[in-house]
Each structure stands twice: as structure tokens, then as C-alpha cells.
Symmetry: C2
Subunit: 441 residues, 2 copies
Amino acid sequence: MAVSKSLQAYRGDLLDFVDDPFYVSPEESLRYIPDGLLIIENGVVKELGTYENLKDKYIDIPVTSYPGMLIMPGFVDTHIHFPQTEIIASYGEQLLEWLEKYTFPTEAKFQDKIYARKVAGIFLDELLRNGTTTALVLAAVYPESVDAFFEEAQARNLRMIAGKVMMDRNAPDFLLDTAESSYVQSKDLIERWHNKGRLLYAVTPRFAITSTNEQLHLTGKLLEEFSDVYLHTHLSENIDEVEWVKQLFPDCRDYLDVYDKFGLVRERSIFAHGVQLSDDEFKRMSEANATIAFCPTSNFFLGSGLFKIEKAKSLDTPIKVGLATDVGGGTSFSMLQTASEAYKVAQLQRQKLSPFQALFLATLGGARALSLENKIGNFDVGKEADFIVVDSQATPIMAFRNPEATAKSLDELGDKLFSLIIMGDDRAIRATYVGGVIANG
Amino acid sequence: MAVSKSLQAYRGDLLDFVDDPFYVSPEESLRYIPDGLLIIENGVVKELGTYENLKDKYIDIPVTSYPGMLIMPGFVDTHIHFPQTEIIASYGEQLLEWLEKYTFPTEAKFQDKIYARKVAGIFLDELLRNGTTTALVLAAVYPESVDAFFEEAQARNLRMIAGKVMMDRNAPDFLLDTAESSYVQSKDLIERWHNKGRLLYAVTPRFAITSTNEQLHLTGKLLEEFSDVYLHTHLSENIDEVEWVKQLFPDCRDYLDVYDKFGLVRERSIFAHGVQLSDDEFKRMSEANATIAFCPTSNFFLGSGLFKIEKAKSLDTPIKVGLATDVGGGTSFSMLQTASEAYKVAQLQRQKLSPFQALFLATLGGARALSLENKIGNFDVGKEADFIVVDSQATPIMAFRNPEATAKSLDELGDKLFSLIIMGDDRAIRATYVGGVIANG
């Protein structure tokens, strides 16, 4: 056959999800092709199958081989703060005090666009080192910080969603916008960045505590004016926070109801945490087809509590859930380490989170959580070719624990993936490809 | 001065503890010597001080320099199973089912001494890669597994404590000893290994559930006959376990009382976990000067619960506490990662565990927990020279988070150590020295 120069072939153990393993069996949800071949054309998936079946068809293309390694879709991180990169692992506080002591003073630096670009670059490279190719990102309150982020993301051809933090009260003066300025600035940023190449915009009020009614009202107005932008905020993370919201919005039934009153609870609305949600709030989230970003390392680190992952994924009130690092409240950029802590969150509630479920959340589940499943999340033909090469023998102890490189049965695969989740970190990410081009490795 | 050939000098930022930061201030408990010099003679600490003050005195000795790195005492892991190395990160169970499904079948392999030596070697090298130089270790039920372990530890000149697991009921037949055989075999092992070089013996009934009254009685007899051996077992880890103990020992007031009735609760008795302890049990542990090995990664991973570290270290019922990985129930050989999870255990209870407290538990606190503070745990003159070189900039994100290599104030040091704990792993251990000789790095 005539082979286009833009064709590329990658050989390894292909692994992705075609359905949700919380609702169907591993056999039905998983696509595992040991010694497979992934064909990319012009940055999207053209075909995949076993090497044996496809090798003759693509005999003229050079093959990049990763023997004994997994080739998986890039990870999707559904909630992370780029200006908090430098305060990861800051000591001793729970949410509200942590914001006061570490977050607010640090975010003030991001008015300086040069500084913001520098940190955005480091942040994106760290994501890529950890195999994360798409993230939903909070910038700082300054539009410059959003420009800086999108410019760096664009330079790396990344599919990224981000937005300017809106906050017009209950924060230091130097960080506050106004309802009006936040509306104008967000609108300008949407017009300049939303759907520009692979970039997307999220309207981003920090959380109910730092927004006036007027700002939340204008947030809703932006969502009406630009129907396909995202809404990204925090929800019900910490007990003291929930209590304060109750005082600030005495007329609202619960925390979620604050956002609901302003039309912010709908598809493409991503709420980080949801640790303290009531049954009513779970029900409403489910009805609205909104998303929770589950942030286990952060919820441990800030002492927020245990997210009810089993309830969120139950058939009664099914909610779209993505996994998220929540750096700087989270402690790692690694979605593997994040999945490991997610397992521990489940165990502490006497629930089981299978390795298939955890990796689903980190890939196709994340894509669905961000309504991007038609673009990323697995290797369906036509999807954007963001993928990673994963080495389950990356450290001496992992190699001892996993003496066989390639899993030969579903049980073996589950065991390998589980140990990868529990023990893996950035070292397990041998390479990261973005749109079919190597970006790290 | 005349300089002995056996003298060695190490230059770096020296850090150790001279007292307990749970009870005195960081200033009183910490010894921090930026750009210090550590002088070793014949495998023990001869002197330490600033490089500036000591350089002329030791002008004839070549200096091994680790600029900008911390030089700390080796870590002490107070509870770990060497035969479980290969089942680290096994999926889906809580304690009792985990033993049935993973532990028991695996431990059966350790009757084969050749296999046991191989795994013991891998295990010890992994400890050294992670900066752990002393551990309290469970072997398997077979005396061969203990010989294998001690032979490998001896070959590396390590100060290690270990013992044969005793269990004569409630486990598969192929793993059971008898009360009598466990007594005879343990006695023989004590006579052959206890105080042989740096090795020490721990009488090791697995836990109350797998020992008959007769076996526990003979355990007490061994402690009487060999007054300076250790007692090492599990205590009150999991709710179902506690319930079963209640049924098996209806005459005992509580779980600890089972051990107490047989004379097993005293100094040099180390009880792993203690997650479910009652106030009475805390009180009794304190009175008896017994030790708890706090195993945070394991307690998360097996869903056991949150150890009450603040209560254990309270002035009301002060208990000697060591930090422990509990591999294979624990998820990492790294005492840094273990300290990170310990912080999260505290946070989930709205308590703070400072970086000084956490590192104390991993060094001098561990030595005290094992009644070895006259031999290891800090750099007091005459202590055995087991030390590690720690790089708080070991990964790109750690280097970004910690741009200054050497901390210049107590605040800076606390911040650096905290981020080291939260983000560090085996990569942060640049070198491990045992008795003044490099063992890894």
C-alpha cells in the first residue's frame, strides 16, 4: 500500500478502556492487546490491533517498539492549580488556613506574566513527566496568568482547559477582582482562547466563599453566553468551609444549591472534592450530569476526609467522576500515586477500588468527566493521539514484584496494574506522546 | 596530630535529634550543623561539628563531601515482614482475608533456604536503597528463613532484629508449628544469633489469633530465660481481628490483656499497629514501657484505620512509638513515604505531625522504641556509624520546591524537611553508610 509520511507505528502492550468498569465487567470495559500495534496518522489514531495482524499492512512504516511495556492513553487530571506548583507539600494546615497562609500570598506573584510563564512551563513539563496530557487547570485571578498558561500549553500542543480565578470577597485585597471585572476579563479570555487549537476555557469562580451573589450571577451569564465553556470550582471539601457557606448563603438548601441558584450546575460543570456532600446533593449532581473531581491525595493531606467514591458511582445516583491531583493541596503530580491514594480512601470505607476502575478514572473516565470522550481518553479511531508508555518494572522493587513484563491473562493484568498503581510514580512513565509527537521520554 | 588510618570524615549538613520533639521544642530536640563534619573511627562516631571548626584538626584525612546535602542517621523501621517482599501491593483485602489470600501461601515458600536467602538479600538491599539501616523483621515460621535472613544481614554488617514467626493454630497446616517446636526452635535461634555481632533476636508469635495459650505461655518462658531478647507481635490492627480475639480469649479484658497474661507486655516488647486500642490499653502500654510500631501506609492500604498518634505521644499516657513500613501490608520501603502517610493520618484526625516529629520517629525515636538508643539513632559520640546522605532536590519538582540546598534557619529547615517527607522517596537517598562503610549509593 502507499504509505503517507505522516504515518507512525508504535508497538507494545496496548491498553485502554471502551466502557466504564464500575458498571460493566473488566472484559467488557477493557481493551488489552498484548504485543499490539498502534497506528497514528496526522496526530490521531488511525488503527490498532495485534502486531501480528497489522505488520504486513504497515510494512513500510518504521515501528517504534516498546517491548514488554504498556501503551496507554495519556492521563487526564480533572483538577489542578498551576500557580500552586511551588507550594506543594506546605505544612500543617487544613483548607481555609492553608489558603490564607500559603495559597493567597503565592498566587499574588502571578500578576507578573514572565514569572507566570516560567511556572506554567515547569508545571506542564512536570505533568508530561508524569504522563498527564490533559488537565483542568485553575490559573490565578490575573488574566496575565491565564495567557501565560495557554501560551505554554499551546507551545506544547496540549489539550488543556483552564480559566481565570474569579473572587471578589473574603481574600486579601491584592487578589480580589470585582464581579464586573471578572466578567469582562473572563469574556475576553474566552473569546481569545476557547477552542483555539486544542485549548478550552473554564469559567472559574474559586468557590462560593470568595464570590458575591453578583459575581456568581455573572458567572451564570457567561455560561449562557458561551454555552460550550466549562464551569470549574470547588465544592464541599472541608467541614469548616461547608459551615461558612451555610452562613454566607442562609437561603440556600445546601452548598450545591448555592451554585444551582445561579445556573452553574449542569453538564461541563466540574466541582472539585465533594467530600462532605449530602444525599440530596449527590442526587442533584447526578440529575444535572455534573462532574466531581475526586482528589484523594489532597483530601488526605489537608485532612478533608474520605470521598464517597462508591456512592458517587452507584447506580442510584451515578455521577461523572474524574480523578485529580489537586496540586498544591495534593501531594503529587502522578496520577498513579493519586490512584493509589484513591484505593486507600476506598479501603478506609471498606470498599474496593479495582485497578481497572482506578485507571479508567485516570483515562476514559476523566475524558468523560470533561465531556471530551469524543476527542481523548482511549484509542478509538479518530481520537487525538496523546499516549504514554508505561514501565511496570521501573524500579528494582517493581521489577521484583512484576517479574513478567507482559500480562497473559486478565488476572495477571489486574495484578500488574494494581502494583503499578500502588508503587509507580513518574519513573514508570517511560515516554509521553502528544498528538503523536514525543513530548517527554 | 597523628591520624589513624581508620578515621573518615564526611562533610555536609548534619542533622540528627538529641531529644524528643513531641515533648520539647525543635530547638531543644534537633541538632543541625550546616556545613558540618562528621568524623568516624572504627565504625563509630568520633566527633562532629562545623567544618570550619574541625577542618584543621583533621587536616590529614581525606574528606568525602556532600555539598548541600543532609547527612542524617540511618532510618529505623520498627516492623516489617521480609517474606512479604514479593506480595507488596496485593489487591483488595483487609487484614484477615489478606493473610489467607496472599501472606500464608507466600510464606510457605520460605522453607526453602536458598529462596529465603535470595529474597532476604533483595529485601535488605531495598531497605538500604531507602536509607533504612536497622529494622525489626518478621521472618517466616521456618527456622531456615531466620538463618537466611541473619546470614544476609551479617554479610552486610547490619544491625537487625528478627525472629521466627510462631503460630500453632488458625493458619494452613503447612505453616503451623507446635507450641513445643516453636519454643525449641526459637531457643536454638536465640542461642545461635542473639548478640552475634550486630544481630539481635525477637521472639515472634504472629498474633494472638494464631497462637494457643500454650504457645503464648512458652513465649513468656523464652522472655524469662533470655531477658534481653525482644518480643515482637501484632496488636489491635483491624476491627474483625479484635472481635475474633475477644471470642478466642473470653477471659481477657481486652486484646492487650491476652499478651499481658503471659508476661509479654514489657520493655523491648514491640506491638505493631494498635489502631483499635482502648484507653485502658493505651494506659497499660504506657505503664509497661512497651512500644507501638505505627504503620501508616499499611493502615491505609488494608483499611485498618487511623492510629491515634497524638494520644500515644501525649503526656498522660506516653508510649514509645516507632515508625514502620509493615511491608507487605505497607506499600513502600521508604520511611520518607511512610512519614508522609503518617502526616496524613494525623491530618485526618485534625492533628499536626511536624516534620521534626516525623523524622524523630524514623531515627532516634525508632532507636528508643527498640531500646537501641545507646547504639544507634543519632550522632552522639560512640554511636554506630549508620548514616545516610539525603538530597532534598532529588527530582525536578523537589528541586523547584526547594531552590536553596542548605536551610539557613529553623523555619527553612522545617519547610525543607517537610517537603522532603511529602515528596521524597528512594531517589532522595543519595548514599547509605553502614558502620562507616558505604552500602548503597
